[in-house]
Symmetry: C2
Subunit: 452 residues, 2 copies
């Protein structure tokens, strides 16, 4: 039918399809029913914002948004009085099988329970709005497939950059563009830690303790520090940007755990700071996806992304680079994105429009390894004698195919800091192995790719 | 009916209303007809992009987008062969009265002719997409009112930041937020000139000639240099952010024509650069809107907005500051935004949804003058003797209620450069008048507000 009108999309997009069954309700509908799964910090923030802003949102949608039920694990847990406690229940049926619920908002987090609920909601013909990045990174394609069959919308702006608009600009505002690359800072916790190491000379451990104290880092910070949280977000965004099914396991991922304060000092001397970058690029069906610390030139927009901020640069062929930056976490910000998606779906319901979904993820692409990546590197070497070894190091690298652009001698630290020219990843790795064998080189302390 | 469901919006929003007359076509529609008004640089870019990307866009929309006619002033003008020349006509009826045209795209620019066409198109029941900021800044409210009555959409993303997504993030992604302030660099021409003055020490005249040579500035650059172009964009954005009717004449506007290379040198010494900022803020129905050069701290995101880039920071109460940055001009980038709006309207047409419009601009606000604005200022004074006059200047300012935070003596230039504390605009202006009367002060060369 309508879907056949065009040939396969050059990139994914929100395809809207009319839902005839809703047409009858079009002019009489006064309420859109919302069922919430979960009322932790994010859920409570959402419930509060929906209550507080009810009048304005109703005017935006053309119908009021009514929370019909809120499913929680423990009904008897003490909760703040300003929340709609009379709607709280431990019985998921109150949301999933409730005919008054049009939109299910999933804010329980985690993967298995959330997946089960979301699939059930879709099968019951309910639209879904979620803030769950783990769920979307692991099961996004199957969820979207099922939503497509069931003719319902699944929106997930909040899962990537909390309230910072990223999914909508990428999939809607930039719909006419072929995307060459995505490049960003997608994890606020690590960015807070790196900012603290840079500006205050804190150690990674000190900065982490501080981040935990402020609630920016979880008690178990592994998914942040290893880069896997950023990799999940990059997988979601890359799937949307190139209309394909990228999994987080497709992303080369290097964390920040080995970074030292010394690395920031060396980077600063060369005019750089260090950021955990998430980068994806596509060229004729070949994609490369990576998350790793990188030297970013000071004075650029990406270097100015400090603290818990997130940022994404989208390189569209018509627009050129577009940068989106804002808080990447926090209950209020997450509520902002959840409500934007709820409003979007609700307008469709009120207007008789059906699904609003990024459905076309069918494109086949090849994921390239890091082997062929060409970048410059910062190498920090612990040596016995900086003056004596300098020449040997440069010659060894050159013999292995890596030219050196810049050398800093750090006799007080017994360190040599080198900035290489552009070279292929495999060549660089081999050359570094060569350095390790060199008499007088005690350790290759750091190897950091240079961005741009 | 549906519009009554909510109380007045706390802020404006895209209200979607079903258009029953379109419902019958819902499932059978295979083509959305586009009529173009104008085929200058922007129009040609749009026509090319629509042709080139037809398959992908058709898949996005669920129907193909067909250009039905292109109205130009001079039919016989020589045009590139790759354009759909068989559709070109000098007769506006071919678009405005063509039943196959669903969406009229206005890219002729200027105000009077464009307004006439756009109003006619709306009265003929056609949706309108425009890139015309002069038109929207001067006649936006009346156009949107008429569109509301006629139940058609008028979208204008391209009129603000070309392809950089600004209108959609502000009105849709951030719909749940109360906006406290907008702050940005909204004119690429002046930003190019200021960047060149900062980085290369060029004079304003040299930088302007360079901008004209590169096509960034018009032969008559007045609307850029005086800040009125930025003021128009700020008026459009403020109307949307606060659901009211701001005119460009409501914006206090100070251009860049008096800036000298020396100002950049003095600013740099204090850790600042100079940008032409557009700032709007709202507090309990009181708005202040202003465009003027401002000292912006280096290392911040706004300071890193170089060359012809535009940027807007939106301060939402749920999200915190969200920054959007990208090219603010150029035919390809403008085509990107025009197509995004065309796709948005087309999906509505295909899905049987009617108007998608920011219709609620009814809120009454008070526009505040600059008198009560509290900022810091950089003052550059030409004096007879820096050492002798220093104390008199500081005392004169203090007596008039302005404290001085920092003084730089520039004996070689016979200049005193002062950074004041925060003070009210009226107080500062009076204090500056006082300085002019002071023995030994030859001239107050520059008065520049400090951002933040």
């Amino acid at each position: 039918m309508i879907q056949e009108a065009g040939e396969p999309a050059i990139r994914p997009s929100f395809t809207t399809v009319a839902t005839p069954m809703l047409d009858a309700e079009t002019t009489s509908r006064r309420t859109v029913g919302i069922g919430m799964l979960g009322m932790g910090v994010v859920g409570a923030g959402l419930a509060r914002a929906l209550q507080e802003r009810a009048a304005g949102l109703a005017a935006s949608v053309g119908a009021s948004l009514a929370i019909e039920a809120i499913v929680v694990q423990d009904e008897d847990k003490r909760r703040d009085d300003d929340l709609p406690l009379h709607l709280v229940t431990a019985d998921a049926v109150a949301v999933l099988d409730n005919p008054d619920v049009d939109i299910v908002v999933e804010v329980i987090g985690g993967v298995e329970q959330a997946l089960d609920y979301v699939l059930k909601a879709i099968r019951s013909g309910k639209h879904v709005v979620t803030a769950n990045k783990d769920l979307m990174a692991r099961h996004g394609p199957e969820i979207l497939d099922l939503a497509h069959e069931a003719n319902v919308s699944v929106l997930f702006e909040a899962s990537v950059g909390a309230g910072t608009p990223i999914v909508a600009p990428l999939t809607r505002s930039l719909v006419a563009n072929r995307i060459a690359a995505l490049r960003g800072i997608l994890n606020g916790t690590t960015n807070y830690i790196l900012t603290k190491m840079e500006l205050e000379g804190a150690s990674l451990d000190q900065a982490l303790v501080d981040a935990q104290r402020l609630g920016y880092a979880e008690a178990d910070p592994r998914s942040d520090l290893t880069g896997s949280d950023a990799a999940r977000k990059l997988a979601i965004l890359s799937s949307l940007a190139w209309g394909t099914r990228v999994r987080d396991t497709d992303v080369y991922c290097e964390g920040i755990t080995w970074l030292e304060t010394r690395d920031f000092e060396c980077a600063a001397r060369l005019g750089y700071t260090i950021k955990l970058l998430a980068i994806a690029s596509e060229d004729r069906g070949e994609m490369r996806l990576r998350v790793h610390p990188a030297l970013v030139r000071k004075g650029t927009a990406m270097a100015s992304v400090d603290g818990v901020l997130n940022a994404l640069e989208i390189d569209g062929d018509l627009t050129g680079p577009v940068l989106l930056r804002g808080a990447g976490a926090g209950p209020a910000s997450t509520a902002s994105a959840l409500i934007a998606d709820i409003v979007e779906v609700s307008r469709g319901i009120v207007g008789g429009l059906g699904r609003i979904n990024p459905v076309n993820l069918a494109r086949e692409v090849t994921i390239q390894s890091m082997a062929g990546l060409e970048t410059r590197h910062l190498l920090r070497l612990s040596v016995t004698d900086v003056d004596r070894i300098q020449r040997d190091v440069i010659e060894s690298l050159r013999d292995d195919g890596v030219l050196v652009d810049h050398v800093t001698l750090e006799p007080a630290e017994n360190e040599l800091v080198l900035l290489t020219g552009v070279a292929e990843e495999t060549v660089v790795q081999r050359a570094i192995s060569g350095l390790r064998l060199l008499d007088g080189v005690l350790e290759v302390s750091s190897v950091i790719r240079v961005d741009g």
